[in-house]
């Protein structure tokens, strides 16, 4: 009995830890999506920010500085992307894919330039747990939920804030209107461009934080393809959660559960091939998408640029 309880507690705690990059990346993608900009570069941005954030943290010996750097780099990506899609009106998918490849490339290039090819991996200390006073003392649950690293709390908080912002404030209403009908928003005096810039940049900063989480919590170092497709899963999560913050939060928990499960099974047995296990989240995505497809909502103008003088009807 005790053994099982212990297993469950461990599983849940791992899950909480694992959901963070899903949440941050998906919420970041979602935010831009709500204004009609489909960011398909999430994976690439995560890779670059993981790489840069790690290096800054390593060089400066400061985890915090690493995080700030990752967010800044993410924001920079966002700024350029916003400029190209919103101001220059270039195709969002083409730009997004270009940025994905660019990000992937940069992520391996920079460490090579800075560390050269070395046999010993540079490492940083992983993020410490930050037990919340009192709450973490609750038997069983306390350790699972309130004895985690700071980004676990931040990611949940960000989700709740985004929910509140988007659905309970007039600013959120305005932001959502831009993705639902930019012409209408414009005709009512809402600055479509500004909304898009803000949403893309803040979204990319969140994605940056998601990226740097990986070396800071999982490995302590940057390895190639460290994201393992989490950026793409973030896009899937957005559809899965109907581009709404709270369902995305639950979805992230679900994806995290599958990831942990796959990991546990992999350690426990060799009967199931590893490749099958890393496939699981994608299979789960397809299954869930099919099941929830009818209810799923997408911003009406997701993926289309806005040009005031063009008629769209």
């Amino acid at each position: 009995m005790d053994q099982i309880l212990h297993e469950v507690a461990f599983f849940l705690k791992q899950m909480m830890l694992t959901m963070v990059p899903f949440i941050l990346a998906a919420q970041g993608t979602m935010l831009a999506g709500r204004t009609g900009v489909f960011n398909v570069a999430t994976e690439g941005i995560m890779l670059t920010t993981a790489s840069v954030g790690f290096i800054i943290a390593f060089q400066s010996n400061s985890i915090l500085l690493g995080m700030v750097a990752a967010m800044l780099v993410g924001g920079l990506f966002g700024l350029v992307m916003a400029y190209m899609t919103t101001s220059l009106k270039l195709n969002q998918f083409v730009i997004g894919l270009a940025f994905f490849f660019l990000g992937t490339g940069i992520s391996t290039l920079i460490p090579k330039l800075i560390f050269g090819v070395s046999l010993v991996q540079p490492v940083i200390p992983t993020l410490q747990n930050l037990p919340i006073p009192l709450l973490s003392k609750i038997p069983f649950l306390g350790d699972i939920f309130f004895n985690q690293n700071i980004l676990v709390y931040v990611s949940v908080l960000v989700s709740l804030l985004l929910y509140y912002f988007l659905y309970r404030t007039s600013f959120g209403l305005e932001m959502r209107s831009v993705g639902e009908n930019p012409k209408m928003a414009d005709s009512l005096g809402i600055n479509v461009f500004r909304q898009r810039y803000v949403a893309i940049i803040i979204g990319c900063m969140l994605i940056g934080l998601a990226g740097v989480y990986l070396p800071m919590v999982y490995t302590g170092t940057f390895t190639e393809q460290i994201t393992k497709g989490r950026g793409w899963l973030a896009s899937a999560l957005c559809f899965f959660g109907g581009w709404r913050p709270l369902p995305i939060l639950y979805g992230s928990l679900f994806f995290a559960g599958i990831e942990v499960l796959a990991y546990r099974v992999q350690i426990g047995t060799s009967a199931i091939p590893y490749q099958f296990l890393i496939m699981l989240p994608y299979v789960a995505t397809i299954v869930v998408m099919v099941l929830t497809f009818k209810r799923s909502t997408t911003p009406k103008f997701l993926g289309s640029n806005y040009d005031r003088e063009k008629r769209t009807l």
């Binding site: 309970r168 007039s170 209403l173 209107s177 639902e180 005709s187 005096g189 909502t297 009406k300």
Partner: protein, 515 residues
């Protein structure tokens, strides 16, 4: 109207879209407390001119003067700030939002951080009461019938408290009663100090509310005259030049036509018996609808919008499923599991041209052949023969007088009326000898185009083909139909033969009085 001070002037406005000169040195003037009618054929540039004023389009040259001061309007935001409001020809609404949310968007609400909209709802309710607009503010806009959505659009402008209100064809989706109510509201607004620009194709409306009328043709000024000098004929002449031969026209014809004698022995083309339709929510929208259409007949359905006309059309087409009753086509019963009537060749002109009948992002040619793409002559060995398609498109563009740069033009670029012309061209070019179901086919068309459609419909009738014409325009039905069925709350409350036609009688039936 006594000569009031001028509050707005648009001087020498020019605007071109990739070489297509939509506005060519247009002048426009609006007086204080004036209702100024803006008239012109489809594609004349009315919407474009007003979009310039509202900051949606930037003029290539020309000035806008507000109370004599030159004004730079770079965006709708500037327009709103200067007290200009606009009701757009095609609704700008978010379907899955409530009416309130649609209306208050972009205005500063009282409870910014909680979105408790109670104060705004109260304010809106007052507005609704004052202008006799009856809307449930909490319903999702997408659920509302077209007429009500139109009112939401008007509400949006009123809510912002404007000095100058632009109404771009606000009456296209309204019933006659609603139009009257709107006019009363307009008079109230003008008395309170508003000035109104009113765009419409309906001369009667112009002659009954406008103080002055500006006429545009092909992006140029024709005249500007006070109402006292205007009458139907001068307006039509001004709008279309010599294009419309009034003597030949159906609309202005004085001739009295007899209804087709129905030969009871001949099998009806369409026979509908006891048709029922129930919505997903369990509401009965069609109750025991029975009628038949014979060869050579135009059968009309009259009624105030929202009384089951849309359900009738969509059940026949097969978009919605029937809950009971039978549908026979040329004597053969259809089980309607699939869109059988369509497969049998039914031609359908849907009411909501943008939602159900048009692909804005593809080109005009593709829209013109949509639905017939697998037929001759467009299809060759299973592939589309684009050369044929473009040839045919050019012909349709010429015959139906569609104002566009050509078949390759992006369909969304067309003006509202020209989109409707595309729908008409598509329907009449591919109808053949089968049944046609036309739902408000002349909505948004200018008078010559309307006349053209009437001629086409009558020609079909002469050739012995059957047509089901659903319309909210009673004059149109009286002009064309052999028989009219009146719908009220999903029921056909009576069917009148042409010899029994009486406008007032039908009006009464439309409000539920059985004959």
């Amino acid at each position: 109207m006594e000569q009031n001070e001028v509050i707005l002037q648009m001087v020498d406005i020019c605007k071109a879209f990739d070489g297509n000169q939509a506005l060519d040195h247009v002048n426009f003037e609006l007086g204080a407390r004036e209702i100024h009618g803006l008239l012109g054929g489809n594609g004349a540039g009315k919407t474009t001119l007003m979009n310039v004023l509202y900051g949606l389009y930037k003029q290539d040259s020309g000035d806008i003067l507000l109370k004599g001061k030159k004004l730079r309007i770079a965006s709708p935001r500037d327009a709103i700030r200067n007290g200009i409001g606009m009701v757009h020809q095609h609704f700008l609404q978010i379907n899955n939002w409530s009416v309130v949310q649609n209306v208050v968007l972009g205005s500063s609400v009282q409870n910014k951080w909680t979105m408790n909209l109670a104060p705004e709802v109260a304010k809106l309710q007052k507005l609704c009461d004052r202008f006799a607009i009856d809307i449930d503010l909490q319903v999702e806009v997408g659920e509302l019938p077209m007429g009500t959505r139109q009112k939401v659009e008007i509400l949006k402008a009123l809510y912002r408290g404007v000095d100058i209100l632009i109404l771009d064809e606000p009456t296209t989706n309204l019933t006659p009663q609603e139009v009257d109510a709107l006019f009363v509201s307009l008079k109230v607004m003008v008395d309170e100090g508003l000035s109104i620009v009113f765009i419409t194709h309906k001369l009667r409306e112009v002659l009954s509310v406008c103080d002055r009328i500006t006429l545009l043709r092909n992006g140029k000024n024709v005249t500007c005259m006070p109402r006292s000098e205007a009458n139907e004929e001068t307006l039509v002449r001004g709008m279309v030049g010599e294009d419309l031969n009034v003597k030949d026209s159906v609309i202005f014809s004085k001739e009295i036509r007899e209804g087709t004698k129905i030969d009871e022995v001949v099998t009806p083309v369409l026979e509908v018996k006891g048709l029922r339709h129930v919505t997903e929510q369990g509401i009965e929208r069609l109750k025991d609808v029975t009628f038949s259409i014979h060869p050579g007949e135009i059968f009309g359905i009259a009624g105030v919008a929202g009384n089951g006309q849309l359900e009738l059309a969509e059940t026949l087409v097969g978009v919605q499923s029937k809950a009971g009753g039978t549908i026979k086509y040329n004597g053969r019963e259809l089980n309607m599991v699939t869109a059988e009537l369509l497969q049998q060749g039914l031609t359908y002109i849907p009411e909501d041209r943008l939602g159900d009948g048009y692909l804005p992002k593809v080109n005009v040619a593709q829209n013109l052949i949509l639905g017939a793409q697998h037929k001759q002559p467009y299809s060759k060995n299973g592939f589309i023969d684009w050369r044929k398609v473009f040839e045919a498109s050019w012909e349709m563009i010429k015959e139906y007088n569609i104002k566009t740069s050509g078949p390759k033009d992006t369909a969304a670029n067309l003006s509202g009326g020209n989109i409707q012309r595309v729908m008409i061209a598509r329907a009449f070019s591919h109808v053949g000898d089968s049944l046609m179901l036309a739902h408000c086919p002349t909505r948004g068309l200018d008078i010559p185009s309307m006349d053209f459609v009437y001629k086409k419909l009558l020609a079909r009738k002469m050739q012995g083909y059957a047509t089901l014409l659903i319309s909210e325009d009673l004059d149109e039905l009286l002009l064309l139909c052999d028989r009219i069925g009146v719908m009220y709350r999903g029921e056909l409350v009576g069917i009148l033969h042409r010899s029994q036609f009486d406008k007032y009688e039908i009006g009464r039936m439309m409000s539920g009085v059985k004959s």
